[in-house]
Each structure stands twice: as C-alpha cells, then as structure tokens.
Symmetry: C2
Subunit: 198 residues, 2 copies
C-alpha cells in the first residue's frame, strides 16, 4: 500500500515510475479525472496494469503521489526587499495556485489518499518557503513571525476556505498578512489602547 521511494530506486523501477507519472500528468491534461483509470494509465505508460496495482494499490494513491510532486515549489520566493513585500507576494501567488482548478484537484488528491504522508510533505514544502522568507527578513534585521504563526494566520485560513467553500478574495488574503505581521514585533499581549485605536 505504501507509495514509492521504499526499496530499489534503481534503473528499471525508476524508469517505470517516471513513465507512469508522466502518463498520469499527460492524461490529466486531456481528460476529466473521473475517466482516468489504471488500465488507461498503464497503456499510456507502456507498462502492465498489475505493476501499477502492486506498486500503488489504488488510483487514489498514485494520484496523490503525482500531485505532491506538482505541488513541490519550483522556485524561491520572490525577493521584494522587505519582509512584508515578500510575504504578501508569496501569499498571493500561493493562494492563486491553490485555488485554481488544478491546485484544488491536486490538493484533493493528496488529502483523499489513505496514506497521509503526502499531505505532510505539502505542509513541509510550504513551511520551507516561509522559512526562506523568514531567513531573509532576519538577515536584513527585520522582525518576522514564527513559522507556526504564519501557518495558522495565513496559510490555514486560505486552505480552509479553498477546501470548504469558495475562493478567498485577494483583499482577505492581504488582511491575513497584515494581521500576522501586526502581531509580530512585540510578541506580547497588546495593550487595550492599541486595540481601540486599531
């Protein structure tokens, strides 16, 4: 039932895995995901279906496996010169990617799988990107919230809305960033006076 990188990452196995992944990506471009079946993928990949069944168990696991690769960030967060700018730009891009049809589908695939290792990987990817922004901020001497604070304050609300309702507006996303940054510099309870003038 497990997914992939367990044993024998050598030549043929790797080739088969790559071929199957490519087949999935290729098929998902052309057709509705409801019509993608394992025999179809096997034919496209030039392998026998039982290979896929034995390696991934179910279509869901294979889709999750492919999806997590596509969700892996392929570039560094853009450096805008300030922590606020970096986080704003990154957040907007992240939100756009995740709320697009493709992003939603991939997230569904990752969450639908029995094995939640892939979901954990996605979380790790996001944390890494934020950590990079945080490192840059600290190198500049700027304050920056804990990764967890950004996850709770920015990432979680965005993902929740995408999964359970509709797409978060760009305004709301900006507010999330503003709020989490506002809570940063003094990491202590805010005095009432500051709250009232807010």
């Amino acid at each position: 039932m497990p997914a992939k990188e367990n044993l024998r990452p050598g030549g043929r196995s790797a080739r088969v895995q790559a071929s199957v992944h490519n087949a999935v990506r290729s098929l998902l471009k052309t057709m509705d995901r409801a019509d993608v079946t394992i025999p179809l993928i096997a034919a496209e990949a030039g392998v026998t279906p039982s290979t896929i069944y034995r390696r991934w168990g179910e279509l869901q696991e294979l889709l999750a496996d492919v999806a997590v690769e596509r969700l892996r960030p392929d570039m560094l967060p853009i450096d805008t010169g300030s922590a606020r700018g970096d986080l704003e730009v990154w957040t907007e891009q992240y939100c756009e990617e995740m709320s697009s049809g493709i992003g939603r589908d991939m997230m569904r695939d990752v969450l639908a799988a029995q094995d939640n290792a892939n979901a954990c990987k996605c979380d790790a990817f996001t944390r890494e990107q934020i950590a990079l922004i945080a490192d840059r901020a600290h190198a500049r001497g700027e304050a920056f919230p804990d990764i967890d604070a950004v996850m709770d304050g920015v990432v979680a609300p965005i993902i929740y809305r995408i999964l359970f309702g509709d797409q978060p507006s760009i305004e709301r996303v900006r507010n999330l960033v503003t709020d989490v940054l506002a809570a940063t510099p003094t990491r202590q309870p805010q005095p009432a006076s500051a709250l009232i003038s807010g």
Copy 2:
C-alpha cells in the same frame, strides 16, 4: 452524479436511502474502509448494486454523503455562562471530535468527493454553532468576534493541522481562542441602539 435530495423524496426512495446509509455506517463499524465496496453495501442494505451506482455514481460520493450526516452537530453548544467559556469548551470538543480517527475519516470522505457541496455543508454546520455562541454572547451584552474571524483564527488552524500534519495540542487550541477573543473589541459589531431599533 449528484448525491441525493434532488427528486422524488417520497416513500420508497427515502427508504432505500436510509437503508443504504445504515448499511454504510454498519459496515464501517466492523471493517476497514478500504474493504467496503458497493456490492457489499448493497447486499447489507438489501438493494441491488445498480441502484447505488445510479444514485451515487461512486463509492466516494456515497461515503461523503454518509459522512456529512455524521458531522452534523447533534446538540447545542454548551452554555458555560460566558462567551470565552462557551468558545473554549466548544473548540476543545470540536477539535477532539475532528482529530479522532472517525473524525479524520469522515473529513477525508467529505473532501475526497468530486462534488464539494458536502464540504460546504460542513462549513455551514460549524458556522451555525459559532453563530449560536455569538448570539448568546450578544444577548448577555458581551462582545464577540465576527464568525469569519473565528473561522480564520480558530477553526481553520485546527482543521489545517489535522489534515496536513498531526493533531493540534490542547494548549495551542486554547491559545487560538485566547488570541481571537483578544482581537475582538476592535470590531465591536453592534451598539446597543442597533439592537433596540432592530
């Protein structure tokens, strides 16, 4: 492909639906969800498999349909006498339910379905419960955050962690509640005059 309450809610249809739902719940108690199949459910429910295929399309949709019913709140939020107490108690209970094995499975089922109507329903359930707490708070003259603020600040972080990593600790959950309540007074929703003129 849609799920259920579309047409003909009359006698037999309702009976079949109830029977199938019961069969699913019953089977999920005894066996691993990976082993639950539509023919099995059909046998347990005393209906023919094609009925299930035509009505729900895939196992995933049926499971989502059953799951959303089980996620429907079955009681009012406990009244502790204060807004903070109400929200704390409700949040802890919610978190416990959702991070339990059953809660996770049901959430997965709801999110895995193609049709996201069920996911929206879950969101609506949660909002209703929070709205009840908010109403009580306002009736007592207490301030209470916007529903959206609670969703973003409390519910979303809990759900995100459950879905993408491990279970949030009770301490973190308490902090989430504390933070969202601390941020409240700025957005005081209703002056007393508004209530009177209603």
